[in-house]
């Protein structure tokens, strides 16, 4: 049952302009490499790139930094996907239609979150690999076989988890496509303006450093918040009404 629903949800998400998103990320990569300014006119991205350059001891660190740099574009895609997958379907009654069939809410919620996660994770991994490819194609093989690839994957994983938890939470809470999209993206944008090492996206730089030197208890904060937000979203979805 889960597989069938997941397959359906994935086919629903891929109706969105995934190809265009990949092209956008390609342009974002090329632009960021040419200008060396973090991929755009945004001052925030520029400063991240500066930090990224400073902290990058090698291309793997560069890749990790880049995976953090895409926080804002990732937030934008996550806001679109989650709003359309959750809020739009709840608003229009499609969720009501699904739940009138032998589909239980836990399975539907999990399938939606998993498929969103899969798509967003693919987007970020694609972007990071693309970046490596443009950076130096000869490193492409090295990055895939290096031990620290796991560190890069973990940063990407937590990045996606955090962005996803915010967007899903806002979507399930508002049940309104417009509010959900604007609200989630606004929160993600505001987060990029906060200059704290404990708030994403800067938190991921800190985490990356700590992963090399030794972890602190505070490093659990963001993953914990992500999980809690997802659990709360699940509670709202499970207990919610679909009039």
């Amino acid at each position: 049952m889960f597989r069938k629903i997941m397959k359906w949800e994935l086919s629903n998400i891929t109706r969105f302009p995934i190809l265009e998103i990949f092209v956008f990320l390609l342009v974002f990569n090329v632009f960021s490499l040419i200008t060396g300014a973090g991929g755009g006119s945004s001052g925030t991205l520029q400063s991240w790139n500066t930090i990224a350059t400073k902290v990058s001891e090698n291309f793997l660190r560069e890749s990790v930094s880049y995976s953090i740099q895409v926080f804002l574009p990732l937030g934008l895609f996550a806001s679109i996907f989650a709003s359309l997958s959750f809020a739009y379907e709840m608003e229009k009654g499609t969720t009501k239609l699904y739940l009138s069939h032998p589909i239980d809410r836990t399975t539907l919620f999990t399938a939606k979150v998993f498929s969103l996660f899969l798509v967003l994770f693919s987007v970020i991994i694609y972007s990071v690999l693309l970046r490596t490819f443009f950076f130096d194609p000869s490193l492409f093989n090295y990055i895939l076989t290096n031990d620290r690839i796991l560190q890069l994957l973990l940063i990407c994983f937590l990045n996606v988890l955090f962005v996803l938890s915010i967007t899903v939470f806002i979507s399930v809470l508002t049940k309104n496509t417009a509010f959900s999209f604007v609200g989630s993206f606004f929160i993600i944008y505001v987060l990029t303006l906060i200059r704290s090492n404990y708030v994403p996206p800067r938190f991921f730089f800190t985490l990356n450093d700590h992963l090399n030197k030794g972890l602190y208890i505070s490093d659990l904060g963001v993953p914990l918040i992500s999980v809690l937000l997802l659990l709360f979203s699940y509670y709202l979805f499970k207990r919610g009404e679909f009039p």
Partner: protein, 283 residues
């Protein structure tokens, strides 16, 4: 099939359902009531889409679970099908959840007259086609019970007649029971044998139409001229003078004695029952 016990539901300070209890038996049952009576809320509670403040619903003798929806088909009044998909893609997905074969999808679609449009995207469907697609979805796998919320609201008169015939056919040939919520009583009357009448979230009546007629109506005749009529009360209903018979023998005697022409016996219809029940509840 459905056992609703002491259901109460409030939306903020509005009481939508007040201590509602009824059972839906095998057959075709109508759920009727004026706007805001609580029909759709009741259906949503039955389907587990809305949680009641009090009371419980049993489906086929068991407490609600998503598994019990395998034996129930639903057509909602308002909901959006995934418009980016083709009709057949949507039906195949739903059929896979109910373990229904592809052959059965085409059979049901053929019966519902939507087979020709299944390869088209749902976004290109007319309101009537969407209604038919919803009906195919509801009837997939010939469930034990199909719940239809305002099923004929988007259909033209001819399509409505076809739709009602289809409901009867599915009941007679495939033993599918129906719970139909609608405002269009003359249509409902053609197919259903029992009704549940709601008003302002309260149950006014529930039972077989025949029994309700016996309970609320006496035999009625339209006669001409209305003079010296005995054994009955003269009443006006919908602009027509009728005689409500209290003592049939006395009434027929007076008719024969006064050369009154017995025009025809007026049988109350569902609309009359509905109005009468509402009137009685107001009293």
């Amino acid at each position: 099939m459905i056992d609703v016990k002491n259901i109460e539901k409030s939306f903020r300070d509005i009481k939508a359902l007040k201590d509602l209890s009824f059972t839906v038996e095998k057959g075709i049952t109508g759920l009727i009531g004026p706007n805001g009576a609580g029909k759709s809320t009741t259906i949503k509670i039955i389907l587990g889409l809305i949680h009641p403040n009090k009371g419980e619903v049993k489906l086929f003798g068991k407490k609600f679970s998503s598994k019990s929806l395998k034996d129930i088909g639903v057509l909602h009044e308002k909901c959006t099908f995934p418009t980016n998909k083709k009709g057949i893609e949507y039906l195949k997905y739903m059929a896979s959840l109910k373990n229904v074969s592809e052959k059965e999808i085409h059979e049901t679609a053929e019966l519902c007259g939507i087979c020709h449009a299944l390869e088209r995207k749902i976004r290109g469907y007319s309101a009537g086609m969407i209604q038919r697609l919803g009906l195919v979805d509801a009837l997939l796998g010939y469930p034990k019970l199909v719940i239809l919320d305002e099923p004929t609201s988007n259909l033209d008169p001819l399509a409505r007649i076809e739709f009602l015939k289809l409901i009867q056919q599915f009941y007679q040939d495939y033993n599918v029971s129906f719970l139909i919520s609608t405002h269009i009583l003359p249509e409902l009357e053609k197919v259903c044998d029992s009704v549940i009448i709601l008003n302002e979230g309260e149950l006014l009546e529930c039972g077989k139409i025949k029994n309700l007629i016996k309970k609320y109506f006496r035999e009625e005749y339209i006669v001409y001229p209305i003079i010296n009529i005995k054994g009955g009360k003269i009443k006006e209903r919908n602009g027509v003078m009728i005689v409500e018979v209290e003592n049939k023998k006395e009434f027929l005697d007076s008719v024969n004695r006064n050369y009154v022409e017995l025009l025809y016996k007026k049988d109350p219809n569902l609309e009359d029952i509905f109005i009468e029940v509402l009137k009685c509840s107001e009293k």
